[in-house]
Amino acid sequence: MKFVKTLFTASALAAAITGCSDTSVEDAPAAAQVAPSDAVKVGFVYVSPTGDAGWTHSHDQARKYVESQLGDKVETTYVESVPEGADAERVIQNMASNGHNLIFTTSFGYMNPTLKVAKKFPNVKFEHASGYKQADNMGSYFARPYQARYLSGLIAGSMTKSDVIGYVAAFPIPEVVRGINAFTKGVQEVNPNAKVKVVWVSTWFDPAKEREAAETLILQNADILTQHTDSAAVIQTAEAKGIYAIGYHSDMSEYGKKAHLTSAVHNWGPLYLEKVKAVMEGNWKKENLWIGIAEGATDLAPISDAVPADVKALVAKKKAALKAGTMRVFDGPVKDQSGAVKVAKDSTMSDGDLSGFNWYVEGVAGKLPKS
């Protein structure tokens, strides 16, 4: 009994001492080492598993990049495969209430839940990817992968023999339609005879369905495939069938040693680092960012040796022009499927029009599913 009591006193004493030393750290001048407990806590909410080589993978790479750059000044956590229904709000709210300073919600369906939580936690900063709503403590951001799509279209248009290119796409939302159109525009610029065929799989991540869609496209004579879904199944199918493919989200070369020509990739690292630093320094402000090749958020993975040098040179030239801002992907004239000019010569599409893209450009085969 006495022993237990002594133990208690001792532990209380120990707690008091550590408590004291904690205060002394806090009292120390700002130049002193930042204790891990003062680290900025950053949370990430993901829509799919982190290991899928796709969308979520690209965000998780950026999370790791932030950790590697800031060391113990930052503490990151994530929750993966969060459904976009009622559950998202709870996950975001749990993060906000257990001490996170900055929360990235990385899927469109999290927009309204993020907004609801942001209103309840004015001291926490929120960053939502791919949406259009902001608040005082909620910014939004997105990349311009369609720029890299356009560049990869130049490669596909030059490499196709059958003049049929297959595109496995998730849902007919503006972001995906924009990618299809940018890709097709690239294809058509170098090869006006080539057509892009689209198969909708109605899922972001389902390797079996994506593979089936890829096989359907091959049966329809496609000799180059690309995809706007999250897995590498389309690349793997192309590799198995001995045709070429272009990846998306992250460099998918390891899934198709011969098939992989290049990938349109995201690079969220620099943006996330900048946002975390802003929170640390207390000068975070809400923004509506749409950044692309110029800012390094969008890029093209290394191009395969199977691509001829002159095509590589063309891609490099166009990439430099996009970077410098001397050209934009949807500079006129842009025609729709019926051949009508939708964007006149010497004009370009506004960001607003790009955000709501709901028609196909010339060169896409088939009808866009819509109301």
Binding site: V79, A86, F108, N112, I173, K370
Partner: protein, 379 residues
Amino acid sequence: MHSSLNAILETLFPFKIEKRPSDSKLMSYLSPLIAISLTLISGWLLFIALGVDPFTALYTFFILPISDFYGWTELGIKVAPLLLCAMGLSLCFKAKIWNIGAEGQFIMGALGGGAMALAFLESESSWVLVPILMAGILSGLAWSAIAALLKTHFKANEILTTIMLNYIALNALLYCVHGPLKDPEGFNFPQSALFGDASLLPLLHDDYRLNISLLFGLLALTAIWTLMSRSWIGYQINVLGEDAAAAKYAGFKEKTLSWFALLTCGALAGLAGVSEATGPVGQLVPQISPGYGYAAIIVVFLGRMHPVGILLASMLLGLTYMGGEMVQMEMTLPKSLTGLFQGMLLFFLLASDLLISYRIIRIKKTAMPSDPTHAVSQG
């Protein structure tokens, strides 16, 4: 060869499984408890294998999510739809009608009710909730009516028809949020406009998002419990499920009973769907259901088809989802743990259920066969 192998087995493990003269009532209640204990023990070992402190991990998984009032209200949000779907399903399963269609009925309820809420976007009267909820209930009911018609009229297997109807419902929802019900100011993203404040279900408390749908769930529980234990139609459903031939002999109308069970389930699942849309979600989105209709099937069996069991089971299942989020956030453990725990729970439940109809008894010495090969293998 075969018999000697058997003999070795019998020596090492001198027990055998024998059918009980009648099902053990005690075991049917003990079985879920055995399953939960085995799940916890396996979870303990699993966490040790993962190199984390098992006590902290299990605490984070099962206790931390409900360690404050907010956690309980969040659990309520998950329990309400599970409970509504599961009570409807229990009615069907009691009658041995294998309705897998609660998911589709849930989605149609959300779609029908959601469409009605969008029609009343400008309204400020809270009376609009009445037509909205009715639309949700009737949509779910209509969806189950298709399965009922196919079953009673064309003798189509309800397992197949309801599964297929689930896919049709999901695609109907996708069509609507990509098309006619898309938010006109939403930059062509596939979701509806946010519902007006008047068409949202009243909250039980302003600080939490738990709404009156939990009361719907508890009401359904009481109603179905009373129906099944006190009413003539409940009795008929029980008899139909126990012995269809006897039910026919007694003159019970099988078709009427099938219609009744399926329509009730459709109405309840539809109510769950519209409550989800006008509750925590507040708009129509493609992912309106995280699979509540399917999870409810697990809930019914885990809860022994008994209302109290179903309530406890829906709480346990809801907790596994929340626990999965918690261990990711607090301990950076993988999401697949949620699936693992749910899988273990079902696996151990099915295994323990064997003990309801069977018992394990010790093999008596005299029961050993006097086979020479047997003697050799022993020596």
